[in-house]
Amino acid sequence: MLINRITLLGHKDHGKSTLIGNLLIQTGTASEQRINDAKKTSQKLGRQFEPGFILDSFEEEREGGLTIDTTRVQINYKNIGFEFIDVPGHEELIKNMMSGASYAKFAILLVSAKSDEGIRPQTKRHLFLAKMMGINRIIIAVNKMDYANYHREVFDSIKSDIEDFLQKIGFDRKQAYFIPISAYTADNLVKMSKKMPWYKGSTLMEAMKDAVETEGKETDGKLRIVVQGTLPTGKKILTTGKVISGTIKSGAKVSIVPAKMNVIAKEIFVKGKKQKLAKQGENVALSFDKVPDGSLRGSVIYGSGSAAKPTKRVDSLIFFTKNVVKPITIKINGNEIACDEAKIKDVIDTGTGNKMNAGYDRTLNAANVELRLSKEVVAEPFDTSAELGRFVVYEGREFVGLGIVKGA
């Protein structure tokens, strides 16, 4: 069964872990032992039963009532495999949120309908990040409708505010589903709630099913192999890598950049066996007619008619976790490359979607940055080649953000 990965998004305490916990219970997925363990802990802490404890397994998470780190659980719903990625909603834990969300193709954003909660900066920030990381379909679940007496006005007001924000950041509104729910009381999760007759849409799980089933499939394109390294065993020197798009046949003339080598792929090994052909998604070991000089890690192999161009200049959009002032290093396709220059053109306040000037505080905001790299790398626009168009950003040893390539 193929697994569809969905990340949860939203401000802290808006119910991400509770929602997944209750989905596990409502769909009959959670084991009795995990439910009992969550019940026992809730009792011990003198609280109402908290379904979120099925996921929040650390003592510190349960006692503090927060998710510290990301986790994943799977649900089989009508023969579709879903993997829900829970993430922390606290802004200081955003690197853990990004670690989880980066593996997802879909998202559920939770917004609390409780009067003192509502849309928070983190609500919109997570939406911005999701869009940036390539999540094109999203369910906006307006949660805690029980606290809002199931009133339609509360739902409508949140919906219209989020819709405005989606438009501002260029997210296709037709790819967003809006559902009023209560994660704790299970309204509109798996069964339609009788308490909101004004809502004519589908349940959360049905919406997920629809989102997954109507998603377009990716197609094989031009050949791109990202080189991982060399095999440490064997008499021959084999170059390892992952086919990220296209196919390669043994005997094919290919080029390796930035080294600008033209070679013939003599043998192709896939999963330990010699093959005539390797396809997208496969890890290969290749022998060439010439032995490459030095390490090729991070190089890109392409075929005739679809050249990949190495460059030192990259136009990018970077989300920063702090207001970085020191030189940065980017990690892209296994390369670690220092930036000689990172020129900020402007900053986008991710809590509002507004464009600010270059001097605006970059902490938890995104910036359009012109990068000048200390060595050549193959970078392609994220919109056309996700795997060659994304990178993570470090300041010394500290993780400070992630970026996507706008142009190179």
Partner: protein, 262 residues
Amino acid sequence: MIQQDLKELEERSIYIIREATTKFDNVAALWSMGKDSTTMIALARKAFLGKVPFPVIHIDNGVDFPETYKFRQELAKKWKLNLIVAESEIKPEMSGFACCGENKTVALKKVMKDHGFDALIVSIRRDEHGIRAKERYMSPRDKEFKWDFKNQPAEIWDDYSSKLDAKGHVRIHPLLDWNEVDIWGYIKKEKIPINPLYYSRNGLRYRSLGCTHCTVPIKSKAKTIDDIIKELVVTKVEERSGREQDKEKIYVMEKLRALGYM
């Protein structure tokens, strides 16, 4: 339990195993002779065209099952494994937390230090336990083997950024995405040799294998891999329900892992 696409799982594991040997100088793997670490070695054989390029470590407390020792000997020979047996002393009064936490961890620390390993491949899976589900694919441990679970490194897209701390090491988890039933699906597909204790005898089988002191079998009629897969697809019982160490306290796995347990 969901049966996932084995090809996708296999590719990801091969990528991670190769990444481990690319990023680190001195890699070793833990081999308990259980289904998971044996599957991991089968994957490493694929990644490296038949030859496993790193040593495999058995933390041996001397009280594993006879079948396990026999299996170790036979497979190490057949697959030409570089086997390191790290002996850990077991005292009669020890069990559960004390045994797995102290005993095995002390032996592991010693063998890691003696050989200077900087990375250790461990075949844990996310679906085994709520705490294991919080792990990264590559996870640093400090020189005391402690897991700083409150401050794990970012692991975004396929960038496993773990950097080594002085005298510490990095745990590599190539099987993190696999479910228990996937392991069995793969064992069947690849005809991977497996410890006979997993199959039902007299109505009982071991679902998770530890040592003779702390592991109890479950009721099961599953005598073949197909039976086991059928059993797992519908089960609502946790895999490690036969492990004493997990039952003592709610957070015992968190404590064990923080202290350096596998």
